[in-house]
Structure formats: structure tokens, C-alpha cells
Amino acid sequence: MPTVDIDPDELRELTGHEDKDDEQLKTDLFGLGLEFEGLTDDGEFELEFAPDRLDRLSVEGVARSLRYHYGDARGVHVPSTNDPDWTIVVDDSVPDERPYVTGAVIRDVDLDEESLESLIQLQEKLHATMGRKRAKGAIGIHDLAMVKGSPATEGNPTIEYVGVTPDGDRFVPLDSNEELTPEGVLEDHPTGQTYADLVSEYDRYPAIYDDLGLFSFPPVINGKRTEVDTDSRELFVEMTGTDQWTIDKMLNIVCYALAARGATIESVRVEYDVDDLVRPDLSTKTKTVAHDRIETILGIGLAPEEVIDLAERSGLEAETAELEDGDLAYEVTIPPYRVDVLHPLDVIDDLGRAYGFNDLEPKYPDVGTVGGRHERSRLERSVREQLVGLGFEDLLNFHMISEEENYERMGIQPGSDVYGGGEPATIKGPYSEDYTMLRTWVMPSLLMVLERNTHRAYPQDLAEIGFTAALDDSENTGVGERRRIGAVLASHEVGYEDAKARLQALCRRFDVSLETPPTDHPTYISGRTASVVIDGEDVGVIGEVHPRVLVEHDLEVPVAGFEFDLETLR
């Protein structure tokens, strides 16, 4: 789960609750769904957040939520915006893969070290979540004083979002003193290398120009010229991405955070080929929520004024309305920083949180149903009981294994016509070389357990009813998944007969006929190996494990064993 670092002193200041001590804050934050994970080196709270309320990725947003929680704020608040002065012109050359841009001008900014740090963190967290690591949306924040707009036709300053050839132009990126081309940034700059994959396939790279030239290379890096510091008083915020709604919402969250610090928002005109937009889009939207549905989900009766009160305490606004069939409903206004409200159910969740879910009294649902086990699990349980009765230690091994363990160390080949020799279902880009495929049979796992436990007392009689898988074209998934019964007997004096005796007992109990005609299998000693033929069908193998396989597993006692398909006992 992602985390966000919040300075508790700033939180007290922004909420106006200097009286809250750290412990009270932690409890209140837990109520919002922000779990305290620990303190950072700087003494800030490290909070784990669920990735729905992305408006709480900075101290400003958390403080806003707490103010609603405390009842200090109610309803929907939208910051006022001044009329646009600046224009972003979207040029035809913009790469098709990243056609969208949005932006805002922020004035009267007063950044100290903490608020600048908070702004940078917000930018990073938005990149990581909504921005999908900058692929879907990337934020650039600039010192407006360093941007020189070209005078456009109406006389307003203009900047341009364009596409450039990889080696088309040069600029000095952040954290560098060298003039580089965009291509050079991807090759030589650490940040460029990190994000190179996002644009390296593009024919033209995204770039933002003012009158002086290229000053931002989204989504990779900003230019050094417009770098923001604590002396910056006016900001230019631009965002580019693959989806207009996503970057507009990211912009709203940033604007709300800056407005909470006392800054003024000034709109920006975005000029596309076909139409113009004015951004940020701080319009609200509404959801119609049926009263009946609220009561059903929360399991309590509520008066309309209670619902309206809960909505306002959630930072929403609600007015009573009527559904087509005349039933009571609410028109609920959703503020522009919310990105998680897709459906009326999401509003009901907010109302429940404001009410306090833990204040609801649990009740057992008054519906009667008949319980039961799946036939496969009943069969498995019965077979397990029999195996334990026959003296076997029941095991639970991993389904994933390496090809070496599954085949090589057992003396068999993948795709060979012996029991366990099926073609493997393999893992893509495995994280560990010990787990690269699903096991095709149980026996390798049992031998691995024997190998790990040579210091433990013998006899070691082990059994597992285990999941196995191998490629199978006749299956919809292309993988045949089978449960198999595997058993081994390991002790100083053990042989084929001991294994056969137990296999016979098992077959008797399930009333199936067993034959064991001789066969060959590389895992077992020739002349002491047989097919397990149950009710006339060849379903497994039984034998004394070959010394070569025993020595491979560092075993110093003989081992006899069998394995066959569980289904045959059905």
C-alpha cells in the first residue's frame, strides 16, 4: 500500500486544531482510513492510504478532510478563479500518443521549505497513482516569472505544446548544467534514463515552448530555467497525458492544495485545433442517490435532514429530489477534487463514514441457506484420512517449482512419455529461479522434503494430495490441472512391497481394482517399477526410487513410493 508523509504540526496549523496531540491525530486519521505506519526521520507521520481518495495525498488535503470530520467545514467549497490571461496553444506536431494538456496559473504564492516539500510530494504521489508513473498524466510546475509568453493575436501571453524531433532542440534540464537534446536527456540524465521507456517509441517528443524556447520535456523532466524555489511567487502548472479527464483532475487536486495555502488560482485557456478549453475545470457534478438505497446499505432508518447533514459533513451537498416513481432521493453535489465517485454507491459510502461505520450494530443476516462441501474436497478429505490411517505424514507443498527439481533431479525429461513428464506451464519473468513453473507431479516435492529432513528420525512416511498442472490443448486455459496422490516410504529397510501394501489398502477402501504390471520409469529402479492400473486404466506409477535419484537428494536410506490421479478413486 502507498504511503504519504504528513507533518503533524502543519496538520494542526491547517486544521486550526493546535489542541490535538499526536495520539488524537492518529486516531482521527485512522477514522479517515489513513493508517499510521510510523515516524519518518524528520518526525513526520508516515500514513498508509487507500488509493481512492487521491485528494488526500498532501497535508492540505488531509487537513481539509479532517476539518469536515471535526465539523469545522461543511458542504462543497470551490475556490474562485480569475479570468485567463495565459494561453496554451496545442500544435499539430504534438505526438499522437500524448495529445492532451491542461494547466493553471497560480499567483500570490508564499512557499516555505515545508510547503514546497509538500507540493513536491503531492506531485510525486499523483504521478505514482493517477498518473500511472507519468504514463497517463505528468505534472510540470514552473516559476512563472521565468516564463516569457509570446504575445498572441489578442495580446495575451502564449506558450506552446509541440512535438519535436529527438535531436531537434537543446535545453538545460533540472539537476544538470549541460545543454542537452531530448534524446540526450534520455541517454545521459538519470531522470531521463528512468522515464525513457515512456517516450522512446515516439516519432516526436512532447515539448513545451515559450518565447525563449524549450523549457519543459514532459513527461520526463522540466528545464532548469523555470525551476521553482521558496522565492517563487507565481507558478505556471502544466500537465500532459493520454486522457484529458485524468490530467484535469490531477490539476484540480494541485490547485486545491495551493489554494489552501492562500494562493489565487488564475485560469488558463487551452487552444486545441477544434475547440478551446478553460482550465482548471472546477465545476461540480451531481449523483442522484435513492433514499431507500442509503437505508438498505447502512441497515438503518434515516430522516432526510440527517442524510443532508451527513452529506455536508462529508464535504458534499445534498438536496432532496424525487425519482421517476415518486420515491425520495437526493441530488448530491460532488466537489471537483474528488476522483473516486463513479456511482451513487460511492456517495453512500461517504455517508456511512460520516455516520461512523463502527457505530452500526452488527446483525446476523436473516436468510437461510444450506451449506456443503464440493465433491472434490470431500473426496480429498476421505483419501487423506485413509493415508493418515496408513501411517503417512500429510504434507502441503508449493505448487510452483523449478524445472531442475521437477525433471532433472528426478531423472526425467520435459515432454517425455513418462508419468510426471508433461510439458510445463511456465511463469513469465520469474522472480526466483526456484519457482519457474507449476509442478507436473507430486513426487519431486516429497523428495525435496526428505532431502531437507535427513537429520530427523526415520521412518519418514510422507504423503500429499497435491495440485499438479501440465500443458493440455483440450482445456480452455491450455493447462490441465490435476490433483494427485503421492506417497513415499523412507527408512533403513523399505522396499517395493511396503509401498504396494499401502497402495492395495487404499484401493480396497475405495473399492477399485488395482493391477501393477511392470513398466520402466527413469525415477525408479528397473525391475522394481510398475504402472498403477486402476479399473483398467493406467493412472500412475509405483516403485523403488533409483539410487541415482536418492544420491542426488543426499538420501542415505532406500525410498519406495507411488503416485496416481486422485480422480480415479472417485
Binding site: A50, G352, L360, V388, H399, A425, R456
Partner: protein, 512 residues
């Protein structure tokens, strides 16, 4: 009076007029001394004999002492060799005498140091003289060794008085490490008046039986048999026997509880299409969890053959447009090929999706409860609490008009079965449930608040495409988490998988 054979033999061997030692009785009765001692105490309890105890000092020759008793003491051998060499006339070179005596190693020093002490002669400047009046035959130490060797009992001990060895000589032998003094308890039996009476009235003995045999049972001999007593408090040989795996026991217990609460079990593929694992759960295709490295995508095979066409369309529409009049979809790409990609399931909610879609056992009518306790796969770092594969308890309830109170009530009931009460519900976010809760419980021993599950009411964007038009509440929980809470295990790798420790599995307390 009914006595055992050995008791009767001991009673008969004892005397009223004199105390008889256990060893003497053992000899008379032809029984091992320990059997006599055991029987004697039993007879004492019956007041048939009296037992007196005294401490007796005994002497035992050491190995070296026994050797000199049969051969000769080194100093005497030296004296005899010296005489032969004519050292009684004039001094002889020491090297020559020692060489002829055949003394070697430490025996040379022993011989030299005792030679002069006992007055056999003098040793001076490498030359040796012998006193012609030396009397090796009356050497007190040699005589004592001889008499101790002759008079010893089988175990080599000799009573201090019986040995007739004077205290000085004995001390000298002890100093030389040739004899050891020991104390032992000697028990002596005397018949009591009751004992005499019992003997006069005649004894009945019962034969004791070691092993009950088929012959005794069929022949009726068991009726007169007295069974030899065993040491019933001693430990027996260790037997392992079969044993159900501890994690399986826990899974079975969870299954019992859920079946008892009216849940039916689900079953389905471990390798499944992302469609069933994620898309049906209203997880956007660009959700971090779907591209995250913790997912086990398959290299071979790569894609499922068929997906239900209409369902695919409905799911795609829900992703793009949302559900309901003012519902909204995700601003995320949606591609069927991406949905058809195969992976190891990261949760068993894929089974819930399959069942709810009517894909497994046909349309399911409310009310219904379903569950599974099955494996899921996450590409996480292996550590004491995380495995790449673990069991997920998945459960859901389908009914009209379910509320979060029903959800809370169901979980309280479930966890109470495992001794976990006072559950806290932390509002949470899942893409496929709303409202959603993380469940927290108090650890029974540490008192710590730990996460024990994740739950919620399935979103309409998930249910509507699946064709479900009532409420479904669901929850998931790692079985291993429950196991570790119940047993206090510290490293899950000792339990689950091929790194398991057989002793731990064999010795863990049974759960029920």
C-alpha cells in the same frame, strides 16, 4: 498366604535367629540379588521379615593392583634382578639392572622410588646396591595384594575386616593407586514372628506371567496367572503415526465453520484468464495491481481460448461507461486481448466471479452463501510472514437488501468461532467493493491490533455485467494469518512448503 515365587523363596531362605544378608539369601534361593531386594521390601511391607541396614567398607583392587598381585611388585623385581647381578657384593650400574629386569616406562620410576623406601638397597650415583637381608616374601604390600586378590568376591570387593590388611599397608596401596576403598549398604533380613507363623502355615505361590499368550487364553491358564509387574511409568519407544498437516487442519476447521453457517464450497482453475481474475471485478486494466510485478503471468500458455462473448461485452461496457443512469466508467484503456492473458490467480475472488456469472453451476438464485479455502499466488518477497503461495479464505453472501450490518454480523460470528472477538471495521477501498472494510482483531496473546481480513459489498459495476440483480457481500482472508494468530508461529516457511521441518509438523499440537 499367597506370595509370588520369589517372595516365597526369600521367606524360606531367611532365618528368625540370625540376620542374613541379601547376597547370602540370593545364593541360597538362587535368585539375582536385585530380585531378592525387591521381594524383601514387599515382605517387609507384609511384616513377614525385618530389614536392617548397615554400611560396610569394601576394598577393590585397581587394574594395576590386580596385575601386581599375579606378577610381582616392580620394586621386588628390581631387587631380584639386582641380586642376580651380584649387587649384594658391590654396586652395579643401574642401567644394566633395569635392562635385565625387563621393567619399562612408568614402572621404572615406581620400582626405584619404592626400592629404597622398603630398604631393599640403595641407589646412588647411577649405581645400585642390594641389601642381602631383604625379605621380598614378607613384603606387607605384596602380601596384602595377594590376599585381596584371593579373598575377593566376584565383583572384586573384599570386606575390610575379612581382608585382614592393616591400615598402614592399605593406605600405602591406596596412595600407589593399587586399591580403592568404597562404602556400600548391606541389607540383612530376619524373619519376624509373623514370618515364622506364615512359614509354618505353609505358603501358596502364584506363577508370574510375562507375556499373555494365545495358549494361556485358550487353555484357561490365565485364571491362575499372576502378571509380572512392568515399570509402567517408564517412557516407551517413540512412534510417529500419521498426522494431518497443521495448516490443513486449520483449513478443515474453517471449512467446518463455514459449512455450519450455510456456505457451499466453490472449486475452479488456478491458472485463469485476467478476465475472471480482474476484469470481472471492475479492476481497470491500468490499475497498478494488474501491471505490478507481484502478479504471476504465464509464459506458456499465454491466453485463454474462449471467454463468454456477451459477458465480455457487458464487462467492457461497465469499465468504459459505468453502470446506472449517472454512473461513470474508468478513463482507462480496455482490451480483450489483455483480458484473455493467463496468470496464476492472485485471489480466489476469480472463483466468485465465475460462480456469480453462472459459469460454473448455472444461475444462482438468492439467498445463497458460497466459500472456498484455496491457494492463491503473489510474487512477493519470501519472508517469515509472506509466501509466494498461500491459502485464501473467500466467502460471499447473496441476498436482497443486504446491509453493512449484515456483513459485520457475519464476520463477528465467523471470527468468534476462532476466539477472535471485538472486531474493528476500518473503512477501506477496493475497486470491486463499496463500502469496503479492512477487518482488525486483537491478537489473543500480544494484544496487538492485527489485520485479519478485507471485506465489502460488491459494486454494481461488478454485479450487473455478471447478471446479478441483488446484493452480494464478500470477504477474503489469508488462512496462514489465522494459523499464525492461533498458534503463535513465527516463520510460516517451517510449516508450508518443501522447506518444512518434519519434527515441527510431528510435534505441533492438534487443533479442533
Amino acid at each position: 498366604m499367597q506370595l509370588t515365587e520369589s517372595q516365597a523363596a526369600v521367606l524360606e531362605a531367611a532365618r528368625a535367629e540370625e540376620a542374613t544378608s541379601v547376597d547370602a539369601i540370593a545364593e541360597r534361593a538362587d535368585l539375582p540379588p536385585e530380585t531378592v531386594t525387591g521381594a524383601a521390601f514387599e515382605l517387609e511391607e507384609e511384616r513377614l521379615v525385618a530389614i536392617s541396614e548397615r554400611v560396610e567398607e569394601t576394598i577393590t583392587l585397581t587394574d594395576e593392583g590386580s596385575e601386581y598381585a599375579t606378577a610381582t611388585l616392580p620394586e621386588i623385581r628390581l631387587y631380584e634382578t639386582a641380586l642376580e647381578a651380584g649387587a649384594d657384593d658391590e654396586p652395579v650400574g643401574m642401567g644394566q639392572v633395569i635392562g635385565q629386569s625387563g621393567l619399562e616406562g612408568p614402572q621404572v620410576d615406581i620400582a626405584l622410588s619404592n626400592y629404597a623406601r622398603k630398604g631393599y638397597g640403595t641407589i646412588d650415583s647411577g649405581e645400585i646396591t642390594a641389601d642381602p637381608d631383604g625379605e621380598p616374601s614378607t613384603d606387607a604390600e605384596a602380601q596384602a595384594l595377594e590376599s585381596l586378590a584371593d579373598g575377593g568376591a566376584e565383583d572384586g570387593t573384599v570386606g575390610l575386616e575379612a581382608a585382614g590388611v592393616d591400615e598402614d599397608t592399605l593406605s600405602q596401596l591406596e596412595r600407589r593407586g593399587l586399591a580403592e576403598r568404597m562404602e556400600s549398604t548391606v541389607r540383612e533380613l530376619t524373619l519376624t514372628d509373623d514370618g515364622v507363623t506364615a512359614l509354618m502355615e505353609g505358603l501358596e505361590t502364584a506363577e508370574t506371567v510375562g507375556q499373555l499368550t494365545p495358549e494361556m487364553l485358550t487353555g484357561g491358564e490365565w485364571e491362575d496367572a499372576e502378571f509380572a509387574e512392568y515399570n509402567v511409568s517408564a517412557d516407551a519407544e517413540r512412534v510417529e503415526g500419521g498426522n494431518v498437516h497443521i495448516l490443513r487442519q486449520t483449513a478443515e476447521r474453517v471449512t467446518d465453520v463455514l459449512v455450519g453457517m450455510g456456505f457451499q464450497e466453490m472449486d475452479g482453475p488456478h491458472v485463469d484468464a485476467d478476465f475472471w481474475i480482474n476484469d470481472c471485478l471492475f479492476m481497470p486494466q491500468d490499475h497498478p495491481a494488474r501491471t505490478h510485478w507481484d502478479r504471476f503471468a504465464l509464459e506458456a500458455p499465454t491466453h485463454i481460448d474462449h471467454l463468454p462473448e456477451e459477458l465480455v461485452e457487458r464487462v467492457e461496457r461497465a469499465h468504459r461507461e459505468g453502470v446506472g443512469e449517472d454512473g461513470e466508467g474508468y478513463r482507462s484503456p480496455w482490451d480483450e486481448d489483455f483480458a484473455r492473458a493467463l496468470a496464476l490467480r492472485g485471489h480466489t475472488t476469480s472463483l466468485s466471479a465465475r460462480y456469480l456469472a453462472g459459469n460454473e453451476i448455472g444461475e444462482i438464485e438468492p439467498p445463497a452463501r458460497f466459500f472456498s479455502v484455496e491457494k492463491v499466488y503473489r510474487n512477493d518477497t519470501l519472508d517469515p510472514t509472506h509466501l509466494l503461495e498461500f491459502f485464501q479464505i473467500e466467502g460471499w453472501v447473496m441476498a436482497d437488501g443486504l446491509s453493512v450490518r449484515d456483513l459485520m454480523g457475519t464476520f463477528e460470528e465467523f471470527y468468534a468461532q476462532f476466539g477472535i472477538t471485538d472486531i474493528e471495521f476500518k473503512p477501506h477501498y477496493n475497486p470491486y467493493t463499496e463500502p469496503s472494510f479492512e477487518l482488525f482483531g486483537t491478537h489473543p496473546t500480544t494484544g496487538e491490533l492485527v489485520e485479519i481480513g478485507n471485506s465489502g459489498i460488491f459494486r454494481e459495476e461488478m454485479l450487473e455485467p455478471l447478471g446479478v440483480d441483488c446484493d452480494v457481500m464478500a470477504w477474503g482472508l489469508a488462512l496462514e494469518r489465522l494459523l499464525m494468530l492461533m498458534y503463535g508461529f513465527e516463520d510460516i516457511r517451517d510449516i508450508h512448503g518443501t522447506l518444512c521441518d518434519l519434527d515441527l509438523l510431528r510435534n505441533t499440537e492438534v487443533t479442533y
